[in-house]
């Protein structure tokens, strides 16, 4: 790794982060479908099998439960498996192994056999794909005790967070906004010290409304803040980054100042992260709230055909609309 800064995409940043983690710790293994020669369908593991060999970058048979289940065994043997689920919609065959095994080994063994393991999931929509390729399954994992769930939203976080997740002693569901993989480049400076993994971050200061987002919707929230400022409205934007545990302190601090909050995610609104965040804000900031927390998310419909996905996904207009509604409340 060089410490000279360079401009990279999220895909490249994750690739660099994985490479760094593998260089730093020989116990780190990558496993998944097509992660080897192909470098993954999104090329996140590009070149890593060539660099670290087939024993450390493992192309697996086509079976997600098998991937996660065997990764558990490797973790028990002292390895740190980083598994790639090819698309969000294909994590479900592994769901049983994740919620009944990965999440429970540490508790079941009273701490004797923790499972340090990372499950990388490209998530979210907006890439014009077919069914099962644009899901947002985070709430289901966040609801499960024993799992930690994080989502990166930009190249710099991607580079650091993947390394922190791999270094963490507990299982981490690592969500990558696939729509952002090749979208924007950011300056990467290897010499800075990153924020802790399980912390949310205020990414734009503001005073009228607090807008909460994570993963792909952070960009949307920032655009909304930009547009709002043009209309004289000052939005504070917080990138949650960690979905379980939630780091609510900065959120409470912000809402106590603004009195208004909007949360946006691509997942279905019903029982999405917004529900929990809304409930917690209301419990903690009841007397500071000028309006109920508003939720802008994917509708409670299956993810629609791609030609209308942009209508399904929360966008700048829908976030602005919620901002106006909370201000007019």
């Amino acid at each position: 790794m060089t410490t000279t800064t360079q401009k990279v995409t999220l895909a490249k940043a994750l690739n660099m982060g994985l490479r760094k983690a593998m260089e730093d710790d020989p116990k780190v293994l990558l496993m998944g479908e097509d992660v080897g020669k192909l470098g993954g369908v999104f090329r996140i593991t590009d070149g890593l099998q060539k660099a670290f060999g087939e024993d450390r970058v493992i192309d697996s048979p086509l079976a997600e439960s098998g991937i996660v289940g065997t990764a558990i065994g490797m973790a028990l043997r002292g390895y740190k498996p980083v598994v790639e689920i090819q698309f969000d919609g294909f994590v479900y065959p592994a769901y049983d192994q994740i919620v009944c095994q990965v999440a429970k080994f540490c508790f079941r063994s009273q701490g004797k056999t923790p499972i340090p393991m990372v499950i990388r999931i490209p998530f979210g929509g907006g890439i014009g794909a077919v069914e099962h390729h644009s899901e947002s399954p985070e709430a289901q994992f966040a609801h499960t005790p024993g799992l930690k769930v994080v989502a990166c939203s930009n190249p710099v976080d991607g580079y650091w967070m993947i390394q922190q997740a791999i270094a963490a002693p507990d299982p981490v569901i690592f969500l990558e906004p696939k729509r952002q993989y090749h979208a924007d480049k950011a300056e990467l400076d290897d010499s800075v010290t990153p924020d802790p993994l399980f912390s949310s971050r205020v990414v734009r200061r503001g005073s009228d409304v607090t807008v909460l987002a994570y993963g792909p919707t952070v960009k949307t929230a920032m655009k909304a803040a930009e547009a709002a400022s043009g209309e004289g409205k000052s939005l504070e934007v917080i990138d949650l980054r960690t979905l379980s545990p939630l780091d609510m302190a900065p959120v409470f601090e912000s809402v106590r100042r603004t009195g208004r909050a909007v949360i946006t995610h691509e997942a279905h609104v019903n029982l999405g992260l917004g529900a929990e965040v809304s409930a917690r804000i209301t419990e903690e900031c009841f007397y500071s709230l000028e309006a109920p927390v508003l939720r802008v998310g994917g509708f409670d419909t299956p993810y629609p055909p791609s030609r209308i996905e942009e209508d399904y996904l929360p966008d700048l207009d829908r976030v602005m609309d919620a901002v106006d509604r909370t201000l007019d409340f």
Partner: protein, 394 residues
Amino acid sequence: VTQPGFGPDLAEVFGPAHQPSSDTGPLGLVQLLTPEGERVEHPDFSFGDGLSHDELAEQVRGFFRDMTLTRRIDVEATALQRHGELGIWAQLLGQEAAQIGAGRALRPQDYVFPTYREHGVAYCKGVDPLLLLGLFRGVDQGGWDPRENNFGLYTIVIGAQTLHATGYAMGMQRDGVVGTGDPERDAAVVAHFGDGASSQGDVNEAFIFAASYNAPVVFFCQNNQWAISEPIERQTGIPLYQRALGFGFPGVRVDGNDVLATYAVTQAALQRARDGQGPTLVEAYTYRMGAHTTTDDPTRYRLSDDVERWKLKDPIARVEVYLKRNGLADQDFFDAVAAEADDLGHRLREGCKAMPDPQPMSMFDHIFAEETEELRLQREGFATYLESFEGARA
């Protein structure tokens, strides 16, 4: 007391565990038409018995036509994707014989559960090829009516459909349409899947349920040697058809580039199922000549000379040679098929471009047979929201 080397060498005892997956097993690769277009005999399977010379000629010409039109569908769709009319396309190039052989062995009452690549089988089941494009264009998730064609919607989650197929076959058993001996009545199901899919738990559970209930289902695996970038060797060290032996039902490997053999073997397997003799695994040994999908780049993981070698086994060329050499078809026939393919291509191009985008509001439709109040309100809310933009957006 434990000593190294104690006990016999099990490999010796049980016979060699692993055989190269190119091995064709005890039955040999069932082939009835060589790549050179020569008819060959097989001890167990034959094509054309009981058919007159003309009937046989007509049927083989039919196969040629089916495969040619199927390939044209594939070529046009691939081009449409390149021109941005489709978001993605799953090519079947090279698998025409496997699909037409399997598709033509079906009776109307037989039901098919496809993957996302069974364009040729869909064509045999009477699905308008234009409807196949909708899913890849992103305007729907499958526009045909499974009930009309007895052809299910494409399934994208690998292997899931093999369980649906097995359950559907169990339903047929309960409907009394298995083993009655009435050809108009007895029915069976075909579950399509790929070599990679054979590793999914669901597919193996489907084998178990089908065997346990002796369900009338044919598991038709197109082993095209690749699961995206992963070669068949990652999924199995022995020929895939032998998987069935571990579950207690027959498996057979057929030359998937030989439409006559695929037809004969599938039909035999289907008849076995219809007769109430239970499931069969058919491994159609073929090759994915194209990319996994139009978004894939095979040059990253496989050598082009593999592809070159398989070009010599082209499923359509061998039938053309056979027809010509034996004077079973004249030039008019080939010209007619070519013309028909051109018309089809034209229809697909025009039809695809004409496919309208769905209405945004349609995302709220058909989530349930009985809509909920919750969804009705969400739909109305979104409609009101959209209206607030009229003018603004226009």
